[in-house]
């Protein structure tokens, strides 16, 4: 048989330090994916997925951009492997979107009247104080709050 090239993952240095946390988050994600849907609304069943995805991305973003504890190589490696969402992190680098919950809440094309989701509205400007946005269950991701 001809030689088939397989891609084998080569972990860059520094990986051992972040690997436990990332595994934990992965396990949580698997758990959320397999959760039964009983007692939850249809949209509510997806909220934990978004939440954990946010946590994973946040972890890596913090390590690299805020605390600067990992190398660029490791950072890119994590993004390529899917441990964090590149596009979401790109938004976090922009002013006003530092706490963006998910990419859907910001997309005006996805909403009536071309607005953003209600979770993007700062709490003081909102009428209802307690909300859970329908996309990701976010309770408020405006940068000010």
């Amino acid at each position: 048989m001809p030689k088939v090239k397989t891609n084998r993952v080569k972990y860059p240095e520094g990986w051992e330090l972040i690997e436990p946390t990332l595994s934990e988050l992965q396990a949580k994600m698997r758990e959320a994916e397999n959760d039964p849907h009983d007692g939850k609304r249809k949209c509510e069943t997806l909220w934990p997925i978004f939440k954990i995805a946010y946590q994973k991305s946040r972890y890596i973003f913090d390590l690299y951009h805020q605390r600067k504890e990992i190398s660029n190589e490791l950072y890119e490696f994590c993004l390529d492997q899917g441990y964090a969402d590149r596009n979401l992190i790109a938004k976090w680098k922009k002013p006003g979107y530092e706490r963006l919950c998910c990419l859907r809440c910001m997309q005006t094309r996805d909403h009536n009247f071309a607005t953003a989701c209600v979770c993007r509205v700062p709490k003081q400007l909102r009428e209802e104080k307690v909300i859970e946005c329908v996309h990701c269950g976010c309770k408020g991701c405006a940068s000010g709050d």
Binding site: F113, E128, K129, V130, I131, E132
Partner: protein, 494 residues
Amino acid sequence: MAHRLLRDHEADGWERADFPIICESCLGDNPYVRMTRAEYDKECKICTRPFTVFRWRPGRDARYKKTEICQTCSKLKNVCQVCLLDLEYGLPVQVRDTALSIDSNDAIPKSDVNREYFAEEHDRKARAGIDYESSYGKARPNDTILKLQRTTPYYKRNRAHICSFYIRGECTRGAECPYRHEMPVTGELSQQNIKDRYYGVNDPVALKLLGKAGEMTSLEAPEDESIKTLYVGGLDARVTEQDLRDHFYAHGEIESIKMVLQRACAFVTYTTREGAEKAAEELSNKLVIKGLRLKLMWGRPQTAKPESDGSDQARQQAAVAHSGLLPRAVISQQQNQDLGQGMPYYNNPPPPQQERSYYPSMDPQRMGALIPSQEGPPGGPSGSGENKPSMEKPQMQQHYTHPMMPPPPPGQYHHQPPHQYYPPPYGYMPPVPPYQQYPPPYSAQMVPSQPPAANHPYHHHPMQPGSSQTGSGQVGSGSAPAEAGTSASGSQQQ
């Protein structure tokens, strides 16, 4: 229907619209409204044809509302697309149809293909601009309907629905739950069906409303057979005595008409009880003069004692349909006859030998003759005269009566008796110049009130002050003005 599944909206007769046909309540209190329009989004709840659905939020504390029936169906019955209540009156279809005696129900088929066909045909005709007859614009506003209609928008129906999980105690959403956390009000009115409401058949809300309307309109005659005076409320400057006369003459001979402008009311006294009853029966809910809806009730003898809590009294009195005062009236009548109690008694039947006349010239008193003694019970229908004195009294006591004059807008479902009723200034002017009945202090007050009524042909303006001097507790009602110069009163004095 297979042929409806796809494309060609025009050919299939699906409805397109640019703006919804909705009522004020459904539109909401906010002048800024963001509305989405979705073509062929849902099917009409009545005719099941696809139509343009509009969706908006009628105010901050409201749920999102959307059009439920298509414009064709809504135009057929002249109702709001969302709440299915009449566009002009805000009433259920059944109420409006019974009140206006419109019956278009036969024309609209209710079943299946027939219904869709009818709707499509109608829609096509409307789009082509063919004028179909619509009876809704042409119907004259009925008195009943004017009383039943809603005058102000009702935003409570825009509130969120009740949280069904909360009813069972299982609402896990807590504070962020957008539905109302209240217990539902169940009852006869809860079983409503959109088709029933639309076609005006078996609608519990409508039945309830009609029941109430039926009770409202009855104007029972007072027990005291001697009361021949009708109280007319809700007047304003536009209504003159001549207008009243024109409306009331048809039902019987008018003995007197007394207008009390200060209290926006008038008293019309007939010479016969039957005349009064006939007038009451025919005009009770249909009295509209110069576009002004007037309230018609039976008159009452004016009470002598000052009413400190006039409004309550008025209300209860009105509630009792004036019969409550009758006994007192009888007493006061006697008193009047003996010695005026200062209580103008409007209902006293004049002594038979009195001649009834409308004209001041026929009444010696009006022409300036002074009657030294009290004239006895007001015989003549000098209603206006009587009004005045009674008016004075309340005025003396409190001027609240004045603001209470105008009856509440007829739009409310609950028809309230006019508060001012309390000192029902009876339009029954005793023959004696009104001033006489009142103790002198009153007369001073009465004089200023003369001028407003001065235009009244029956005023005995000059006579009043003179007669007031005699002031022997004459029962006759104070204000000379509007004394329908009845010689009866004059003769009573004799």
